[in-house]
Symmetry: C2
Subunit: 327 residues, 2 copies
């Protein structure tokens, strides 16, 4: 049910000042046009407030994903503590390499190695214990470049888009390829998005009992749902049950989410963040010969598809006056 608060006609124009970190241009205009078109009762594309759903990828879309996804950093940082508990890990790859601290060797770990590290470091504890561990880590871990908490490295213009959409009756969801349990720990605090509006990859849990008889949920080493590519629309159907009107991403993992969003009737907003600002953040992707990277692949094919289908590519360099709140 939609609180009465949201059913009033929103003065979208007046709230446009909320997009203060956006330069005037086609990206900002696309957001303004979409909101006006879907919230004006006189518009043929008017969407009732309860149906206003917007989905956001996280890594590289809402916050920095370089040099490595923050959840991956968390998993790496957990390895020493885990090896102290289970000494056999010290002699087992890929944990041995992680413990060696040899950056060149760590950089060569395969996707399969990373999966093994993820599953080993995120399971075998209760969901409550997991939350405590993540909170503890977030309170102390720092990004190597800015020497700031990861939670400070969210993009101010994207925070403004989320606020602007919410002020116009949109319900905002995160749809991340990373673990939803991880993101749910801080989503409310840093994005204003409650845990139940975070969709992501899922490791199964098992209902069990602690020694004192209290029921607990144990995180199991079984990947139940890998929320990327075609699994993003499937995850949206599973967890939200309706097609979004707006979707934001930055890589091929978000392609199907944008495609699915765009296939709905009426006005839809599909946006991709292009990392083309090496000075203020990072530059990687298909444009101007920027080198591609392991993370957040924004391929030339995705760029071409966006242009062809009318998805908006956001240039960090040109469309964003400011990248971080602390600037």
């Amino acid at each position: 049910m939609v609180p009465t608060l949201l059913t009033t006609d929103s003065p979208a124009q007046a709230q446009a000042s909320q997009l203060a970190s956006w330069s005037d241009g086609s990206a900002k205009q696309a957001i303004l046009d979409f909101v006006r078109s879907t919230t004006d009762r006189a518009s043929p594309n008017f969407v009732p407030p309860g149906e206003r759903i917007a989905t956001f990828d996280q890594d590289g879309t809402l916050w920095v994903e370089h040099p490595m996804y923050s959840q991956m950093m968390y998993c790496f940082d957990r390895v020493p503590a885990l090896a102290a508990q289970k000494p056999a890990l010290k002699r087992t790859e890929p944990f041995k390499t992680v413990l060696s601290g040899n950056r060149a060797a760590i950089a060569k770990l395969t996707v399969l190695d990373l999966e093994k590290i993820i599953i080993t470091t995120l399971t075998g504890m209760t969901t409550d214990e997991f939350d405590v561990e993540v909170k503890k880590w977030l309170a102390t871990a720092k990004d190597p470049r800015w020497k700031r908490s990861y939670t400070e490295l969210t993009y101010q213009p994207m925070q403004e888009v989320m606020s602007y959409l919410r002020a116009n009756g949109y319900k905002t969801f995160i749809v991340t390829g990373f673990g939803q349990d991880f993101v749910r720990v801080y989503s409310e605090q840093i994005y204003g998005i409650p845990p139940e509006q975070v969709v992501g990859s899922v490791l199964a849990t098992k209902y069990d009992y602690a020694k004192d008889g209290k029921p607990i949920l144990i995180k199991e080493p079984e990947l139940m749902f890998n929320d990327n590519n075609t699994l993003k629309p499937e995850g949206i159907h599973l967890m939200i049950g309706r097609r979004p009107y707006a979707a934001f991403g930055n890589s091929t993992g978000d392609r199907q989410m944008l495609e699915y969003t765009g296939a709905g009737k009426g006005a839809r907003l599909m946006m991709l963040v292009l990392h083309d600002d090496a000075q203020r953040e990072y530059a990687y992707g298909p444009v101007q010969g920027l080198p591609d990277t392991k993370v957040g692949t924004f391929t030339q094919a995705l760029y071409d598809e966006a242009k062809k289908k009318g998805w908006t590519v956001i240039s960090m360099k040109n469309d964003w006056k400011r990248i971080f709140a602390f600037e």
Copy 2:
């Protein structure tokens, strides 16, 4: 994020008149005490509005489940249309029995037979086609006893509890053992609960493309999640990500949901609906020698556990002045 609307201190007492269909007694009092205790800022059990989560089983808790779950009726009613498309079904059990209309034989179908019928009738179409079919069925199907739409057979006192909780800042979720895609079709209209707040059993979907190139989600014959028993708390963790403060059920399938809810800190409300009113609805369960039934098993063991743990058993006969809105 919680709309400002809900963060004001709610005058819980004034809204108690919303429980008009409840007789004065321990069940009504338990609801009033719980809401006062968790919404009064001066209370040691005060719960911040954003964390106020309440979960409700559907069949037998929010609406009638006799003589058969309505979704099962839907599946049975789909068999003739399906057999017209795939004539081989006419010669295959259990479809042959369903098509025979022989009630005695149908009553003897096993759980495995029913599962086969469920999976065959609910899959092999797009999610959009499924929604259209269910809407069409709901508009015409009638309950055999009251000759009314299934959607009219919701319990008025439970509607009042949901409204009362929402008026006090609670977010209400359905946590059903039946298919969440089915319940999501009508949940907003009849319960005021939007699709994204419906958790239930899940048949997998597959992202694919129609002949015209449009992306579609196909319902697959693969049970991804059976939302009953221990899977109810697991489903709550998967889809909501926080422990409820209040949980309502009516059978052993809800036991772990209530147990998990009750294991949280502070004031929690656990309630079980007992069907002990043969005249106005049905009587089945452990009390007064009522015959047990195939559906919604409220065992003597569950009754004893409720009494021991302080879960409230709602007597339909004594606690509810009125059962349906149309009475």
